[in-house]
Amino acid sequence: MVTQKSEKTESSKANDAIIEIVEMHKWYGDFHVLQDINLTVNKQERIVICGPSGSGKSTLIRCINRLEEHQRGKIVVDGIELTNDLKNIEKIRAEVGMVFQHFNLFPHLTIVDNLALGPIWVRKVPKKEAEETAMYYLEKVHIAEQAKKFPGQLSGGQQQRVAIARSLCMSPKVMLFDEPTSALDPEMIKEVLDVMIDLAGEGMTMIVVSHEMGFAKSVAHRVLFMDYGQIVESNTPEEFFENPQHDRTKLFLSQILH
């Protein structure tokens, strides 16, 4: 815990922006889902985004790798601005890993093939090397013995760990987590969070949409609270939980912290 704290301050000092979102807006038809989002994420920074459902938090991180398109403002990831240029989008997606609520593993491929797919076809790594990398990351998420199985034969927690390893195989600069534990049974949440905490310890830049407040407290540098498509509050976890500024934040926290 102590080491984590000291590392936290260290990395937040390193003032290297990897994601810059400036005055970004998004609409679904007439519905204004994201309003005037301004967010800068530094290298090695870990951000947890929380907020009621429908507040736009998933949409926000999905804009970062262009799974959703924004209509106004600017998003710059790793020095590349997101426009309609397909080549740029593919480049950014290769650098930004994403973990989904429902894992989204490829059911027709074995676990190791799920992991090796990206490196082989996007990074043009030789097959053998890609499989070795895959096994390395499977070891890391403690699931190497399942390498030859298919996703359908694994539990939810195992699948989510595979999904994390699949993203890591692309050696991403940023990892996005879209409610990674909310589709899991309670006893499986911990195994996934443990993997994410390990990842944080290694200095990965992470943006996590989650309601796991324990995780936010121990790992995040910053906690964002979103409501009605706006970032309402942004603060260090200590301040955020002990001294929330806005009424909406207070209400939200009172509802989820018992």
Partner: protein, 364 residues
């Protein structure tokens, strides 16, 4: 503990005799209530009056090798019509002394198909084998090289023609159908509209009219002196027709793939082409194996419609034999034989599709 187990063992209660074995099965399936019993008895009666005469006709009173005249004296089936005319039924008007050539070509084709059944054999070398095989088959059929006498395509007929039309029709129609299905789901309006128009136009027209158009209308648009082979035109019509149906089948499979799969593929940076090839199509095509095979079987049988543009496929050569005065009146036997050929091919297709489904099962 052991004792308890022993006691249990000796006390194993067997189900009543009336619920197991042959008697149990009959009770459950044939005589389950008065209505089912009645149906069973009626069915048995009809089997009793129809099956023995059929067996007598087909196997006991039948003649296997004889002339047509001898057959007329006989009550049973005249299977002799098949061996006596097998070469015409199989090869049509292909020159009699050259008929070993289509025979070898067919053997090669069937051999390649059988070898390709095993997915472990799907390697680059197999693709080369197919290319070489197709070249050799073409050479054998057409001749004109290496001292083989040239044979006009107008003389091609019978089983080689049926296989040619169906194997190439189906293998070309499937990829085209996939492209059309992807086109129909495309975000590009022009591609989408064109695909929809193509699919709906072709689906709205019977195959017969497409075949007529390919043989009658299409040549009108060609410049003078240019002719395109009749078989190729029929082949193209079959491909275009089948592709439209395959496209809709494949589209059904594409729609069954959850959005998360696209997003996962996107999120690791796969391009559209790679997403489709590596993630979406393998899953979608697996889902649509049963309806695809249904479509392919139906297209295979539809190749017999080429008779209307004067191509002599295996059904037509059989009919021609029946118009021979020596063999008139034995159409049942001849048609049963042709039906058997069609059935065998279709049976292999559906059998293979079940095998593929088993092999591709991954538990999700």
């Amino acid at each position: 503990m052991e004792k308890a187990n022993q006691i249990k063992k000796s006390e194993v209660i067997k189900p009543p005799v009336t619920h197991v074995g042959v008697i149990g099965w009959m009770r459950a399936n044939l005589f389950n209530g008065w209505f089912n019993s009645l149906l069973t008895i009626i069915t048995l009666y009809f089997l009793w009056i129809s099956v023995p005469p059929l067996i007598r006709w087909a196997f006991i009173d039948s003649l296997w090798i004889s002339t047509g005249a001898e057959c007329l004296q006989n009550d049973g089936a005249c299977w002799s019509i098949i061996p006596a005319n097998i070469r015409f039924i199989t090869f049509g008007f292909y020159p009699y002394d050259q008929q070993w050539r289509p025979l070898v070509a067919m053997a090669l084709l069937i051999g390649l198909l059988f070898y390709s059944r095993n997915r472990d054999h799907w390697k680059k070398s197999l693709a080369y084998a197919w290319i070489l095989g197709l070249f050799v088959m073409g050479l054998l059929m057409k001749g004109g090289l290496f001292g083989l006498i040239p044979v006009e395509t107008a003389q091609w007929g019978g089983l080689p023609l049926t296989l040619l039309l169906s194997v190439f029709g189906l293998t070309a129609a499937y990829p085209l159908g996939i492209v059309l299905a992807l086109g129909r789901r495309s975000k590009m309006p022009a591609v989408k509209t064109l695909s929809i128009m193509y699919i709906e136009l072709i689906r709205g027209v019977p195959l017969i009219s497409l075949l007529f158009m390919s043989s009658v209308v299409f040549p009108l648009f060609l410049p003078q002196g240019v002719t395109i082979n009749n078989i190729i035109r029929a082949q193209v019509a079959i491909i275009l027709f089948t592709a439209a149906y395959i496209a809709e089948v494949v589209r059904g499979g594409l729609q069954a793939i959850p959005r998360g799969q696209y997003e996962a593929a996107d999120s690791i940076g796969l391009s559209y082409y790679l997403t489709m090839r590596l993630v979406i199509l393998p899953q979608a095509l697996k889902i649509v194996i049963p309806p695809s095979v249904q479509q392919l079987i139906s297209a295979f049988k539809d190749t017999s419609l080429v008779v209307i543009i004067a191509l002599f496929d295996v059904l037509r050569t059989t009919q021609t034999v029946l118009s021979d005065p020596k063999w008139m009146g034995f159409s049942a036997e001849a048609y049963i034989f042709v039906a058997l050929i069609y059935f065998l091919c279709c049976f292999f297709m559906s059998n293979y599709s079940r095998r593929l489904e088993r092999e591709l099962e991954t538990g999700l």
